[in-house]
Structures are given as structure tokens and as C-alpha cells.
Amino acid sequence: MALSDVVTLGQYIPGDSLLHRLDPRTKFLAATALTILLFFVTKVTGYLFFLAILLAVVTASGIPLRFLLRGLRPILFLILFTFIVQALFSQEGNIILQWGFLVIRDEGLWKAFFMSFRLTLLVLVTTLLTLVTSPIDLTDGLDRLFSFLHVFRIPVHEIAMMMTIALRFIPTLLDETDTIVKAQISRGAPLDRGNIFRRLRGFVAVLIPLFVSAFRRADELAQAMEARCYRGGEGRTRMRSMVLHWTDLWAALGALALGLAALAFNWLAVP
């Protein structure tokens, strides 16, 4: 029972819905396309349509809505900040409220609302992607998707391997951090008490052993990988196959259709 059992990796929720079973490359491209499309939507109704799509997709995936909304928590502050900055510092439109040098205009308020809404939708799209795709699938998918870049000397496989190893070791490193923190607290290190400066000093006693251990792990792991004939991506095969199915095609077309519909809505709608 350790830290790694409590902290879940990313936001992935295992499941068996259509969305889960789609090829990660399809999901990634769909998410990217929708994100780009989002920047062409300028009216509220367009955003609302987008939101409706997202909610429908989440429902189809069988994941409770609250998990989607939980993805907003880390950036709630940013959304609020965006809203306030836009509302207070916009120069367009007529003044609604004034309080000393703080001015709120009507156009500014609309703009604040739009930008916050857009930011929210962006985060929801990426959250959705990570909810239905496991980190390793995503890494694997990106590896295959961008493998053509190796023509331009970009080490796509090696980058993907680094990410895979990082994912593999996160729980292990979390457990180790837990142990080191406990050991140093047992020596009176001010990690769980005192002001921020005292706590920072205590962290040196955690970071250094962690780094030393991480470098040693890397060295040993490299030897073990070489002993099993690892030599980079050249000539490497994969046990897991990633094959596109008809469902991927339909899903991709569906995503495209929805995106275009949102655009159309945008042009035709009034506000």
C-alpha cells in the first residue's frame, strides 16, 4: 500500500465503449481537428453546439460526467483569470459598470465570456481524449502516427521509448519518493511542518537521493536493455499491432461531419 496506489496515472478510466476501442491515432487526430475547428467558431450558439457534441460523446463512452468536469479543476484558476482580465481591460463597447479606475464594458464582458468558454472547451476536448485513451496507447499511437518524421532525422521512436519508460517508472518513483520522505521526516526533516522556507530546505534531502537513485536506475536499465539487444528504432518490430478498422473510418467521418456542422451553425446563427 503506497503512494502509487492512490495517485492515478493521468485521467484514464478503463472501459469498453466504442470510444475506448477506437484506434488512438483516430482519437488523437479527431481531437486535434476539433481543437483547430474551435478557433473558427465565433458565436455562442456554435460553442453551445460544440458543448452538446462533447457531452454526447462522453455519454457514449460510459464515463460519468463528473470525471470530464474534474479535468477542469487544474485550470479553473486560469479560466477565471482569463475572464477577469478580459472583462476589466477590454476597450470595446459601452461602459456598464465603473468603480474607480476599474471599468467593465458590455463588449468586454461578452469577449470575456467567449474566451473563457473557448478555453473550457479546449480543455474538455483534451480531457476527453485522455479519459478514453490509456497513456501507453496514446504514446504508442503517436509513435506510429509520427514515425514518418524519422525521414527528417527526428528520433520519433526514441522519444516514444523515453515516454514509455517514464510511464513505466512513475509508480515506482512515486513509491520511492514516499519512502525517502518518510525516512527524512524520521530524521526530523521539516517536510510536514513549518513555513515554506523550512520545507524547501527539507526538500533537498528528498530531491538529491531521488536524483541519485534515478540516474542509477537509468544506468542499470540501459545495460539491461542492451543485454536484450536494444539498439534504437532501426529494424524493430512490434508485438502489438495497431490496425485501423471500419469503425475508425466512420468515427473520423463522424467527427468531421460534426465539426463542419458546428461551423455551419456558426455562420448561419445570429448571436
Binding site: M1, V6, K182, A183, S186, R187, I208, P209, S213
Partner: protein
């Protein structure tokens, strides 16, 4: 210092799907100056118990008393009290971080707020207590030491806080036979000279049998058996029920007893065992 555990219960992740009752109503006493062994299969609750005893964890219910003072009392300045129970984790050398051995050992005393002279004095004394010559080791970088030496430095770091109780968790893990012998000798000497209470957590029954006066066996978060060493290591079946084996010599003796020989089981000295077996063997012939 007397340590008491009163009806300790600890639950990991209460309310979550992976909720686990690591300790269930455990009550124990450790008298001043005792040398006690704490054994049990992996997952029996040993590390949880040990972390509750030094105040790293707060029990879900129950109390820990150090010389009658309730460690779990919310109003008690827990962090100073917990430092009187020194806990040496498994592979303690992985917690070394300072530039020199002296700096690392000084970490604990400094956190206690001791004066510079006192800190220096404690560093010297701790190095001597673990058998490392201060002049040779004081200024060296801990990362250039051998595995066994690093471990001794880590232990010195805990000793420098002059704990009244010393808990060592798998203190010989990963060491070669000589390293094991050295560390166990050190601990035995420490127990004798400093009169600290020592609680030794180990999977090695031979080690435990050779050192401790009393054994506590945990299983599934509860006390399965406890008592004097030779009492606990006398019945193979009940120990198997607790998930652990007898030390090697008692195990051999127990197998012979099962085959009909008349022998005591809790003998830990190999010469004594040889004498008794030979006697029984020759009696059979005559």
C-alpha cells in the same frame, strides 16, 4: 524507554475501493532495553506497525505511548517525541544526500535544534558507534563509499539523534555474508553498550534466533504468536499457520521429531544440535 501499543488499528485508504486494514487491534509492550524480533510474511503489517510506533503514521484508532506519553494526542508536539524512536528503513543508504558523511549524519541533530558543538560531538560519537573511524570517513562523500559503509553511515545518522528505541527493518538486506555479520555485531554491541531498546524486523529466522530475547509474529495485521524466542521457535505447525518457518537448525530437529526421534526443537547452536542428534542416534543403536 517503554513503548506501548494500545489496540492499534490502521486502515489504508478508508472509504476508497482499495481500503485495506493493515493492522487490526494490535496491543504490544516493549520494555526498556529489550531486544525484540518482529516477524511475519510480507503484508502482515510489520512496516505499518513500525511506522505507527515512531509517529510517522497516525493510527485510525488506538494509542501509542512512549513512557506513558500519548504520541497520538493531537496536542502533543509529536515531531520531537517521534524522534526518540529511531527508525532505520530498509536500504537506508538510499536516503544519503549530503556532500560529506559528517554533513549527512549532522542532519538529524541539526533538525533537533542542537548547538554546533553538540552536533559535532554527536557526529563523532555516532561514527564510532557504528565502527567507522571518524578521521577516515568524516570528510568523504557518501556516494564514494561501499554498500556496507553507506549503510553504516545511514544508521549513524539515526543514532546521532540518540533515540531511546531503535527499530531496524531488514537491516542486512542485500549485504554479503561479511557485511551481514559486521552490521549484526554492531547492533548487538549497541544494544549492550547503549542500553537502547531494539526492535528488529526481519525475514531471516536464523538471524532473529541468534539475537533476540523475544519474538512477535504478525499475520494479516494481527498478532499471531508472541513470546520468548525459544518458546516461539518450538512448534513448526503453529508457525506455519502464521506464515513463517523455523530457523534452519530447529527445522531439521523438528523434521526428525516428526520421524519419531526424541529431541528438543528450539536449539539454535549447531554444535549443541549435533551433540543431541548424535546422542539420540547412538542410543538407538545400543
Amino acid at each position: 524507554m517503554r513503548i506501548e501499543a494500545e489496540h492499534l488499528t490502521y486502515i489504508y485508504g478508508p472509504g476508497l475501493p482499495w481500503e485495506k486494514r493493515a493492522l487490526d487491534d494490535v496491543s504490544l509492550q516493549f520494555e526498556e532495553g529489550e531486544f525484540v524480533g518482529l516477524v511475519g510474511e510480507t503484508g502482515s503489517g510489520k512496516s505499518t506497525l513500525v511506522q505507527l510506533l515512531n509517529g510517522l503514521l497516525r493510527p485510525t484508532s488506538g494509542r501509542v505511548l512512549l513512557d506513558g506519553v500519548d504520541l497520538t494526542d493531537k496536542k502533543a508536539p509529536i515531531w520531537k517525541a517521534r524522534l526518540q524512536v529511531g527508525l532505520v528503513f530498509q536500504f537506508p543508504e538510499s536516503q544519503l544526500f549530503a556532500e560529506t558523511v559528517a554533513e549527512d549524519i549532522a542532519f538529524g541533530p541539526r533538525n533537533l535544534g542542537l548547538s554546533r558543538q553538540e552536533v559535532a560531538k554527536r557526529v563523532e560519537e555516532s561514527l564510532l558507534k557504528v565502527g567507522l573511524e571518524p578521521a577516515r570517513f568524516r570528510q568523504r562523500s557518501p556516494f564514494t563509499l561501499s554498500g556496507g559503509e553507506k549503510r553504516l553511515v545511514a544508521i549513524a545518522g539515526i543514532l546521532a539523534m540518540e533515540p531511546r528505541v531503535l527499530i531496524v527493518d531488514e537491516v542486512t538486506a542485500g549485504l554479503d555474508p561479511r557485511g551481514k555479520r559486521d552490521i549484526l555485531t554492531r547492533i548487538k554491541l549497541l544494544h549492550r553498550n547503549e542500553r537502547v531498546t531494539v526492535i528488529m524486523v526481519s525475514h531471516d529466522m536464523d538471524e532473529i534466533a541468534s539475537l533476540v530475547e523475544r519474538v512477535v509474529v504478525l499475520k494479516g495485521g494481527r498478532i499471531c504468536r508472541q513470546g520468548l524466542t525459544r518458546e516461539v521457535f518450538s512448534d513448526e505447525e503453529s508457525l506455519a499457520g502464521c506464515g513463517i518457518q523455523l530457523p534452519t537448525i530447529p527445522h531439521i530437529l523438528s523434521s526428525l521429531v516428526k520421524a519419531g526421534w526424541s529431541l528438543p526443537v528450539s536449539i539454535f547452536d549447531v554444535r549443541e544440535a549435533a551433540r543431541l542428534i548424535a546422542q539420540e542416534y547412538h542410543d538407538g543403536i545400543i
